[in-house]
Amino acid sequence: MAETATPANPETLRAARRSPASHLAPTFESGSVAGTVALKEIPFQTMVGIRVDRNSDAGARLASVTGGLPVACGEISGDERATTLWLGPDEFLVVAPESAHDSLGGDLVRALVEALGDDPGQVVDLSANRTTFELSGIRARDVLEKGCSLDLHPRAFRAGTALATEIGNIPAMLFKTGEDSFRIFPRASFADFLGRWLLDSMREYASPEVP
């Protein structure tokens, strides 16, 4: 893994970073409809990709760091420190706040690399791979349903579930964090398109409902 040791001045480094949808931040704010649907970017979350057989010793060691590895599609695991999403039978994505990253004084990546050791599998720092959108409000599900073929009804898609799918033809992870709040993880290069797509999808809820 590339050396990501703590630089001399993390604040300088942090100030120089631009998140993939930072240029849309004012548009997200003006496009959000208070009390109905809101969109914002949560930049720079720490994300670590894990590939390991969850029934192996290395899988058990990694699970002890992440607070368990999810068993099946849609499941998540973890604690307040980090959330682990199921991507495949042997593939997981650990999502943690920005401060958990090693370059900002955290130890998540190093702890996972050490847990894997020399066993078969991989632990890769993917923090720059995806960004995070938070879509919330009573109309959040309606916005998503315009471009996502999954059954998003609460009886099928419960809070605390994360699925890999397509939203507006963009491959993304969709994580339902609460009854009316979703986190979407698109890859960085799709963030601009998906951000604008979501804004467009939200626009009708700014107008009075036509009876």
């Binding site: 599609c73 991507l87 495949g88 593939e91 699925l163 890999a164 799918t165 397509e166 033809n169």
Partner: protein, 109 residues
């Protein structure tokens, strides 16, 4: 659009998947011993079945795992979905000729 039941993720839209061609085309045991003709047949020659056809699919937008599917090429009816490495479910039926598993070109059309 097909609704395909991924063995890991459940029913998803066809757009989440990619097609991987005919299933059960075994790699030749001794490729060096093949003639150019036989090698070309292994690489490029595939069945063009009318009816039940075993094919490979990958859930590329979801779990990124490969699986096999038995699909009717006329009605698009998905008859079976089974794991990689498992034999074709209707192999034992006498009315299905699946000699294609080893010799793609030799299969009766």
């Amino acid at each position: 659009m097909l609704l395909i039941s991924c063995p890991n993720c459940g029913p998803r839209d066809e757009t989440e998947f990619h097609y991987g061609g005919q299933a059960h085309v075994a790699y030749p045991e001794n490729p060096d011993a093949l003639t150019d003709r036989q090698w070309a047949e292994y690489l490029f020659y595939r069945d063009n079945t009318k009816g039940a056809f075993a094919e490979r699919w990958v859930h590329s937008t979801g779990c990124r795992q490969w699986f096999n599917m038995l699909r009717d090429t006329v009605s698009y009816d998905i008859q079976a979905i089974y794991k990689m490495g498992q034999p074709r479910p209707d192999m034992e039926r006498a009315d299905v000729n699946t000699s294609a598993a080893t010799t793609p070109e030799g299969a009766t059309k």
